[in-house]
């Protein structure tokens, strides 16, 4: 029995067979390097991260009311300008309010009804939207709606497995997934603008390609915020901050005079 299994493996020619680096390189050469590359249209951010590419899982975090959804909406509008129309799961903000927050209604896709704590359902909707409308960009607002905190004995582990699942989905199917999540509780000014303050953080940042932290900066004006790229795996960028200002309902980079 064992002998037969060994012989079978020695002859194995499946899609997931082990090959040499040379063969792997030839396989990769036949595929495009990226399926999509889309810019944030926030100039300094694009300079740091060279746009977003398929297969990436981007985490956006910050304390409550810090502008997580707003930066998501800003990116959405900017993606639409490049003819990429995202799929949104807006658990935190009710759909009516969410849509009314856009200065002009963009083309986005969203499920008519949301189901919380249902990762299988999310995956199915992402696939549905892709098959119907070819959506490659997905926003999930926010992570803690994806699993049931009350039923979970080890929330950090469960979150880790959800984030890993999303990352695998992004890589296998060529999606860009933006995952919004909260930071640990505390006063805004007490929480540093670092990925270590993300709630149940360690596995989230380990599995993601980049973490953006956002924080309002009322001391610099009522409508200003700081976006910090904590890290970005592809470009190697670390701890870069971009100043943003809310104009006409969306965020823009503050251009130095």
């Amino acid at each position: 029995m064992v002998e037969k299994q060994v012989k079978n493996l020695a002859e194995y020619i499946g899609d997931d067979r082990v090959v040499s680096s040379h063969e792997m390189k030839l396989v990769l050469n036949q595929k495009p390097e990226t399926i999509i590359q889309v810019k944030s249209l926030i100039p300094t951010l694009d300079k740091y991260i060279e746009g977003f590419r398929d297969g990436e899982l981007i985490v956006i975090s910050g304390v409550t009311k810090s502008g997580k959804t707003l930066i998501g909406q800003t990116l959405t509008v900017n993606f639409c300008k490049q003819n990429y129309f995202p799929l949104w799961f807006t658990y935190e903000v009710p759909p009516r309010q969410f849509l009314s927050q856009f200065p002009e209604l963009p083309i986005i896709y969203m499920p008519i009804r949301l189901k919380a704590h249902a990762m299988d359902w999310i995956e199915e909707r992402i696939q549905e939207s892709f098959l119907k409308y070819h959506t490659r960009i997905v926003f999930i607002d926010h992570l803690h709606f994806l699993f049931d905190m009350r039923k979970s004995r080890y929330p950090s582990l469960e979150i880790g497995s959800i984030v890993r699942r999303l990352k695998t989905l992004a890589v296998n199917e060529g999606f860009i997934i933006f995952l919004l999540c909260h930071t640990i509780k505390g006063k805004s000014e007490e929480i540093s603008l670092s990925y270590e303050s993300i709630r149940d953080s360690s596995l989230i940042s380990q599995e993601s390609d980049s973490v953006f932290m956002i924080k309002r900066t009322p001391e610099q004006g009522g409508t200003t915020a700081k976006l910090r790229v904590e890290f970005h795996r592809r470009t190697g960028v670390l701890e870069k901050t971009i100043n943003l200002i809310k104009i006409d309902g969306l965020l823009q980079e503050v251009t130095p005079i």
């Binding site: 495009p32 399926i35 999509i36 003819n83 896709y109 409308y133 070819h134």
Partner: protein
């Protein structure tokens, strides 16, 4: 690509047939429609068409992805997407206007 397009066209034809069947069923035995019913039907038609236009946009995007270095295809798909977006905007406005008109008629009738 051709298969995808054929499949898509097939879906459209079958949706059209379903709509026709539905219309025949609803008209059966009826010689009068209320304005509200009529507008509901317009709305259904428009929403279905809007959905088709969205799917076409998706199809255009998949074309761009398949031929990333072909500028002609890129320009064509961008143009097509723009046209569809304008059409979607127009039809959405028609749905909104239709709802208003229908409401207005119902108010007058009461």
């Amino acid at each position: 690509m051709v298969t995808t397009y054929d499949k898509y066209t097939q879906t459209q034809i079958s949706a059209d047939n379903q709509r026709r069947k539905y219309l025949e069923q609803t008209m059966n035995g009826k010689d009068k429609f209320t304005i509200a019913e009529l507008y509901r039907e317009f709305e259904r038609e428009n929403l279905s068409y809007i959905n088709d236009l969205h799917r076409e946009i998706g199809l255009m995007q998949s074309l761009t992805e398949q031929f990333p270095s072909d500028n002609e295809i890129k320009q064509f798909t961008e143009y097509f997407i723009r046209i569809n977006l304008v059409e979607i905007e127009k039809l959405t406005q028609e749905v909104r206007d239709g709802r208003e008109t229908s409401k207005e008629f119902s108010r007058i009738h009461r």
